[in-house]
Amino acid sequence: MKERRNSNSNKKCTTAAIAAGVSTAALGYVGYKTGIAPDFLNSTIEPTPPTLPAVVDGMVAVNEGIRVAAPVAAIGAGGLAVYYTVAGLMDKKARALNTFSRADYAGTDEAMQPSSRLSGKLNTLKKGTGVAALAIVLTSATSGVEHEVSNGPLRPIDAVTDLVSQGDSDTMAYVLQGSHNTFMDDSYIEKKRLDPVVADAASHGIPIIPFKKELLNINDTSAIQISLPDALFESIIQTPVDASCDTIPVIVDETVKKSVGDTISINGVPAQVAQVKEGMAQMNRSIAIVASSDMECLQKGTDTSYFGAMLPESYKDEVSSLLAKHDMSELAVVNDDFFKENNRDFWRANGTPILLQLIAYIAIFGGLAAAGERKNALQRNVSEIGMLNAMGIGMTDMRKIEDRRALRETAKATLVAIPAVPLVAGAFNAAVSGMEIGVGPREITVGSAITLGAKMLAGRRAVGQFEKKLNLAQAVKG
């Protein structure tokens, strides 16, 4: 009967989370179709200039804040655990509270014969530690996923600029059609208008690198294709480029899983892998680089515009002057930080709402599960706790017992979760090309800190509810 109560509680939590997810998805679909839903419920990616709802911005800030605070909280929790242990060695009251927290009250009507005591321990482990371990795995993975979704898109930008700068430490600036254009949407600068600016800049010793961007298929997988000026491309791959379209050398990311010399298909056009680079991929998008003349082979001459141009940031003002001189002052020249911030905001605006829902469901599940599990544990043992209360152990001490239990179970759950978190992150990374979810101590401390907080709050809340409903005379009667 009592086992069924806790099992029912977990079923209710799972049902609540699934129901919340289904109803939110349904709301989002209806809202999207009728156009009346708030933006953050709409999980379709739309390449518009990024405008972040305040709640998304707040959610990202909270995650980043937790990622900073969590290691500190973990150290604090570790210190608290050491304090409780040392106090238990020196003070009999502390020792008693520590021991009570290990026993979880367990009345004798959950009678265990010695031979089945192991199964009893396993049951207890499943209830208190198992739920917590699951919460830690999910929360850690979610924190890592959100961080990757928000910051992963900056990785290929850095990889390309590193490639272009060829070791030069100067940061980049970008000439774009508009100041808020991101890598995921469009920017058009007519080739015939920018080429004279490039020539003028070159004559003044200003290195400005125009590039095109296309969304093409590499072996039937979407990829962002970038073109660089032929001379620059040749200096990178150390091989001359011909304009025959017969052999197109291409630099690809390692996620394409090809080696140098392999032939790939770019929109049906054969290309040969000239170099394989790391870091030129984000979630679901890798970047490939070809020479400018070969880009025309891939585009089949249909487009005569550049996406933009890269230049060392130290030449930003001079290039702005050149643009004005060539009557192109409507173009934007933005520095690297500003460009990356816009790109980050684009993904946050589109990807984070999905994660917002995921995080909310996990919080609902974890919070309800922790609260339900503690409430059931106290209710299962009303008689035993009532007896302790009658003997003079008050609810203040009960809260201290619950704090110790939360700490102990979270520590155990963290040990269980440590091997599981990389597996979950690895599954994400394997399922989504280009994804690199971090699985380090930071993510695990995020999961542990949130789970510890939820368990402590749940334990204290359960004691408070228990205290309000406790009829001591009935409780000790049994």
Binding site: A106, M391, V476
Partner: protein, 235 residues
């Protein structure tokens, strides 16, 4: 005038004045007045449903009377409002109930000592060993409650209640699960503690063995005290 001066029997056992209690508009106790002397074992006897357990719970501070005054061991039990006051009162008492309430996850030794350690009571191991020997549970000290019989578990709970040599002992049918010889031993132990250490002992029971061992008997019927007498054999 101090509280003790105003109520000169304040520190002399337990006093109930005009105590009434109803549950769901059903009266259970009617203006009960009773005195449980210090250093004596008092038995509250009466038929089933007479309000004995309710009276005990109110005297023990486990339930609140609707009206009336309860004074015990330097406390106005009827006016305990905060948790601090309640735990301060209860920690000097021993409680023995029909449901032994031992924690299954702890050994017998831990069940006896831990509640007292949590309240920073000084428990004399020699006294505990003496009690366990007298009540025949000394060999169970390292066992878990699930391996004990009902009688053994009840005896362990008695040891737990008396381990810190409380000033007041409240017992509700403490011998219900015990055989005759063990019952006699339980009341012997309670009697020794009561008389040798000046403990106020209140027992709810209709057991002949209890009545035989009592110093004072209070009869309750339909929530009213019908009579109180001292056991001449004990005097």
């Amino acid at each position: 005038m101090t509280f003790a001066e105003q109520f000169p029997v304040y520190n002399d056992g337990i006093n109930l004045e005009g105590v009434s209690k109803s549950y769901n508009d059903t009266p259970v106790l009617h203006h009960v007045a009773a005195h449980f002397p210090r250093g004596q074992m008092s038995i509250v006897a009466g038929p089933s449903g007479s309000g004995k357990t309710t009276l005990l719970n109110i005297a023990a501070g486990l339930d609140k009377a609707d009206t009336g005054l309860v004074l015990a061991n330097g406390f106005n039990v009827s006016a305990l409002e905060t948790e601090r006051e309640r735990t301060a009162f209860r920690s000097n008492n021993g409680y023995i109930f029909q449901n032994h309430g031992l924690l299954g996850g702890l050994s017998v030794r831990q069940n006896i000592y831990l509640p007292h350690e949590a309240q920073e009571h000084d428990v004399d191991p020699a006294w505990v060993n003496y009690l366990m020997g007298r009540l025949g549970v000394a060999q169970c000290v390292d066992q878990h409650p699930s391996t004990l019989s009902g009688g053994q578990a009840q005896r362990v709970s008695i040891v737990r209640a008396l381990a810190h040599q409380p000033q007041i002992v409240y017992a509700d049918e403490p011998s219900a699960a015990l055989d005759s010889s063990t019952k006699a031993e339980v009341y012997n132990v309670l009697g020794n503690l009561t008389h040798d250490h000046g403990v106020t002992t209140v027992v709810v029971s209709h057991d002949d063995v209890a009545l035989e061992a009592a110093d004072k008997v209070i009869h309750l019927r339909d929530g009213i005290v019908r009579g109180a007498y001292y056991n001449k054999k004990r005097r």
